[in-house]
Symmetry: C2
């Protein structure tokens, strides 16, 4: 196996280091965050850090480095209080990845790609049309992480749209059925395939050993 | 599409709700956390919330609900200050999932499964033997999230071991080459396959529109 100590990592070249450390945590969710400014400028940006925080109330979080991109998403979330999360699927990988380019605030990534905004439901914030899972999110709080200067943005699900083909009777959204992507590192996209669904685990009888 | 409002979600049955909300965020990392108590009891437990927080210094985080399982992992991390993160791969999915069963503290999941502890490097904390990616982590801080009573545990990479077959020249750990799993919801395992590696994105020339 290849070995890197903490000091080895600190001394790596910049590009090698960000590729290595962004890929070492495992596969990541692949989402497009849709938002809109108070002036009506729409924005859509790829994120790979959406994480489950709790089911009751339904709460998700993601990590943002306030001093770097995507500042437009953050500014819009703070202005409007709502944003959308939309899953990236196989057909739109290139366009989804292109939203990581740094455009000025008045340029919408919806205009620079084939991604289409969709307005529906109770809130005036753009979803990504045809995404197999779409959520409207309400901003709840931001939690600062001092040790490395990032923020955890906490939000609750207001509306959840799921393609009928993906939704199982037990409530599981079977993501494989939507050809939904997972991200490996910063720029590598995979399409996970269903392997097995297991059951709730109880301890084995210890006296059977 | 199937539609759930916030109120619809709150009113769902418990099992349907936790399946739905645990699967709606997208694919999740599939990791085994290895730890040891000050009395020498080893522990290994499945987690699906490991998230990249920063590359310099190399920092990862994960979400823990303090009042629920896996308490042993949390207690051990606080006692010893170090733990390991090991990627779940295709061959060990059943054993990895079984570590979610609630065993008493003096029962090691390493004894109740075919997972094997491996001690190497500078720290006396068990890795999972043969995992294609293994990391020793130093506990840095815990950040409380008031709105839904969870903690973000922040840790820095002290040692990183990567199977040689997975490591690319650009630093990317190509997870697909290790048959590394991704989790969908609480109990469903997928094996993502490499689709494409893209490049750093720059804005398109706007006057070409």
């Amino acid at each position: 196996m290849h070995f890197f100590s903490h000091t080895d990592i600190l001394n790596l070249s910049k590009i090698f280091k960000i590729n290595l450390i962004n890929s070492c945590s495992g596969f990541k969710s692949a989402n497009l965050l849709g938002s809109i400014s108070k002036d009506g400028n729409t924005n859509v940006a790829v994120f790979s850090s959406i994480t489950h925080l709790g089911s009751n109330p339904p709460t998700l979080g993601f990590i943002l480095r306030p001093t770097t991109v995507p500042r437009n998403t953050y500014k819009n979330i703070k202005e409007i209080g709502y944003f959308t999360i939309n899953h990236i699927w196989e057909d739109v990988i290139e366009d989804a990845h292109h939203t990581s380019a740094k455009y000025p605030e008045d340029i919408s990534e919806f205009d620079m790609t084939n991604l289409e905004p969709e307005f529906k439901g109770k809130f005036k914030v753009p979803f990504v049309k045809n995404a197999p899972v779409q959520m409207n999110m309400k901003f709840i709080e931001e939690i600062y992480v001092p040790s490395n200067d990032v923020m955890l943005i906490v939000a609750q699900i207001q509306e959840l749209y799921v393609n009928n083909d993906l939704l199982q009777e037990d409530g599981l959204i079977n993501l494989s059925k939507g050809n939904i992507a997972a991200i490996n590192g910063l720029d590598t996209y995979t399409i996970p395939k269903f392997k097995k669904q297991l059951i709730y685990q109880r301890p084995k009888q210890i006296n059977n050993l």
